[in-house]
Subunit: 123 residues, 2 copies
């Protein structure tokens, strides 16, 4: 499985709550990080618990994957308790093709800046 295929399979399994398929993609010593809160989760078992116990109704739609040898990034649209969110995820892979690290960014909406309004259109 290439990094691109593994990222596609990761999000397909997550959205389907197919936790057997999900964990089959992960290294036993996977490291998950959230740089925005400086939280880290170590190990496949804890990472699975984190995902299965996430306290929200969520739906994930993979929008973009950029992949190369041993590394990939995804842009995934979420609908979390009815609210749209985006998660950008950096993945690294071991020599066995399993996911070794997952690093999530959850960027939140902010106001458009007044100083640049003359340069900008809104969408």
């Amino acid at each position: 499985m290439t990094p691109r295929e593994a990222v596609q399979a990761y999000w397909t399994a997550a959205q389907a709550r197919d936790w057997d398929a999900f964990t089959a993609l992960l290294s036993d010593d996977i490291v998950y990080e959230l740089p925005q809160s400086r939280e880290r989760i170590r190990g496949k078992e804890r990472y699975l618990t984190f995902n299965t116990e996430y306290p929200a109704d969520w739906h994930a739609t993979l929008r973009h994957v950029v992949a190369e040898s041993g590394r990939a990034v995804s842009w995934t649209d979420f609908l979390t308790n009815g609210e749209p969110e985006i998660v950008v995820t950096f993945f690294t892979f071991g020599a066995d093709g399993l996911i070794q690290t997952v690093t999530d960014f959850w960027p939140e909406p902010f106001e458009a800046a007044a100083y640049r309004a003359g340069l900008v259109e809104r969408y």
Copy 2:
């Protein structure tokens, strides 16, 4: 120039305020987007103005690039008015190798979640 080289050159030129080198990497009809505020800037001239007039003291250090044919993503550490920030940037390239689209995410810090404290270490 490959997408990886172009992304490296983009951040090197931005950090050096070498605006000639910077604009040489850009398509004339570049489109810049900020999904968090739904702001869009069209065209090389306006995008250059946006960058040169950014009202802060900032220093950019490229940390990761993931690149493939026609697309790339960077993770860049910023120091903005002395405060650390991260920007994650999606790039697409035209057939001429110039940067066609730039999409920035600026994820802000958030609090660690109490419900998962038993799974998590802080770093």
